[in-house]
Amino acid sequence: MKIIVCVKQVPDTNEVRLDPKTGTLIREGVPSIINPDDLCGIEAALRLKDEYGCHVTAVSMGPPQTDVALREALAMGCDEAYLVSDRAFGGADTWATSSTLAGAIKKLGYDLIITGRQAIDGDTAQVGPQIAEHLGIPQVTYAQDIEKTEGNALIVQRQYEDRYQKIKIKCPALVTALSSLNKPRYMSVAGVVSAYDTKEVKTLTFEDLKEFVKEENIGLKGSPTKVKKSFPKQVKAQGVKHEVDEDDAVEIIVKKLKEHFVI
């Protein structure tokens, strides 16, 4: 079974802060990480590999510095890694991103595609299902458990707000992973060594994918949505900040609760 895992490198949004004066994003010093849901996707693929000897390929679309995220995927145990990277892919929305990735995946060949449910920088949860649509294959999103079963099929536990379902899906298929799916393994020492010494991160440019994706479906041109403007989030009119001892703090809170008839 050939598994493709889609990986996105994202800024650790937990660490992102706004400049209190200008209200703009402070990007400096914010570490780049593998998107947490994607890490669970890698783990899910590697567990299938551990049990059934699947071949796992990590694929990421991004600028050249995404290399380190793919090295991390290799260091965790992925067999191969491809970086889909070209200026022509720049400015892509989820539609163009998914059609580009679908092109790369078609070129590489697959039985199963695993993506994270959503990325913490965009939070759209769209790229996974849209890859599946571009490839014309079934999907199960929000997977909290994945088991392989006979006949190249999977049994996936699909989470909803109020229930879960056990769904049988035949490969080729796409599954999106929730962070509750598993606890991702660490890289290993030998894995880090092989990620740099014996394995490589191969780059796929538009030239490499020409047969698999049309020029009008990539990059800014292939993106139906455009960003009209972006602006710092408006902060609410600031309230009062008290630097007082605990007893005074309690009195302030209680007074306010009484004003609002809460107590």
């Binding site: 090295r71 260091a75 020492v189 880090v192």
Partner: protein, 373 residues
């Protein structure tokens, strides 16, 4: 000269950093307080290949590992260091193909943990005063004697034991042996109640007519002193890394503290004294780091590193003691309270000036390298 880590080493450091943050840090206070040997952590260290790093990667990576573990828990740092430098390394350096086949892969995978026994009650720095004897008896050696202050003692399965095979030869009459825990006549003695690194299970090793197969002689008869000295050269890089980690961990936790704590209406990070103290400390820690990485690099390059390892350990351990003491001072009274990790770090730091050769021994080694005398 290149003073920066390669991409590979940066990723390696990232691995150790995440592991230490998630697996080691949460246990550190309890490991210290209740003297718990972190068996679960050791299993994980083995699983991720962190108990045989010099062989799967290199000594610089191993150094990074001990440093990152020690930032949060010096006990975990020394467990890795004693196992790797003091047990697996001599088997790798001096062992026969058979010995390596039997022990090295199990040590590297963490299936077996290792320890090293040189020190005796009457023979610490003065290794020639060894009382433990080994006598050849047919196909076996019979060992008698007691080793003290042995890190990992009760948790280990494999021990490198230095014993006298020919008293008349002085240090040239010493030999090294690979002893397994379940060999007849071998037992673990009393456990020490220590000031710091309290989880490391430091005990006596007792050998009473302990029978070990002849094939477990490590190196040749009479090479024991050489084995021990070379082993300690490598071990010092590990201890330098441990000291470095303790010092950096102390600075990191102190920076977080001074940003939060307020006095006289200001965060104490705003006082110039705080800033100057921390700047001075970080400079020293960086200097210690360069010395330590240099020693590891020389070892990786197959070059002589005896003096450099001693310098790294001498300097890093003294920096660790100095920095942890000053960091505690920046905490004020809270630094003395167990709720904060800084007092543990100060207690942990002291050992790095003592074991695997005191600071004075390091100076002897460095002076000898300088041919002062």
């Amino acid at each position: 000269m290149d003073f920066s880590l390669s991409k590979k080493h940066l990723l390696m450091q990232e691995l150790f950093r995440r592991f230490a943050e998630k697996e080691v840090k949460p246990l550190a206070a309890e490991v210290d307080e209740k003297e718990i040997f972190p068996y679960g952590t050791v299993d994980l260290l083995g699983k991720y290949g962190m108990l045989g790093i010099p062989w799967s990667a290199d000594n610089l990576s191993y150094t990074l590992c001990v440093e990152e573990m020690s930032k949060h828990c010096a006990t975990t740092g020394v467990i890795v260091s004693a196992h790797t430098s003091l047990c697996a390394a001599p088997i790798s350096d001096w062992g026969t193909a058979e010995q390596k086949g039997k022990y090295l892969s199990k040590l590297a995978s963490g299936e077996w943990l290792g320890a090293f026994g040189l020190t005796e009650a009457g023979a610490g720095t003065d290794a020639a005063g060894q009382q433990t004897k080994a006598v050849l008896d047919g196909d076996n050696y019979i060992l008698n004697g007691t080793k003290i202050f042995i890190t990992n003692a009760d948790a280990a399965h494999v021990y490198i034991i230095i014993a006298m095979t020919d008293k008349s030869q002085g240090t040239r009459g010493l030999s090294a042996f690979i002893v397994e825990k379940d060999m007849p006549g071998f037992s673990i003695g009393k456990k020490e109640d220590k000031m710091g690194i309290r989880g490391s299970l430091t005990c006596e090793l007792i050998m009473e007519n302990c029978i070990i197969p002849k094939g477990n002689l490590l190196g040749k008869e009479g090479e024991g002193f050489k084995v021990a000295m070379k082993t300690l050269d490598g071990g010092r890089i590990g201890i330098a890394a441990q000291a470095l980690g303790i010092a950096q961990g102390a600075i990191d936790t102190t920076v977080a503290y001074v940003r939060e704590r307020k006095q006289f209406g200001k965060r104490i990070s705003q006082f110039q004294n705080t800033q100057f103290e921390l700047a001075d400390m970080q400079t020293k820690v960086d200097a210690a780091r360069l010395l330590t990485y240099r020693a590891a690099n020389l070892k990786d390059a197959g070059k002589k590193y005896t003096s450099e390892a001693a310098m790294a350990k001498l300097f890093a351990s003294e920096v660790a003691s100095d920095v942890t003491r000053r960091c505690l001072q920046l905490h004020g009274g809270y630094g003395y309270i167990r709720e904060y990790p800084i007092e543990r770090m100060m207690r942990d730091a002291k050992i790095t000036e003592l074991y695997e050769g005191t600071s004075e021994v390091q100076k002897m080694v460095i002076a000898a390298g300088m041919k002062v005398n």
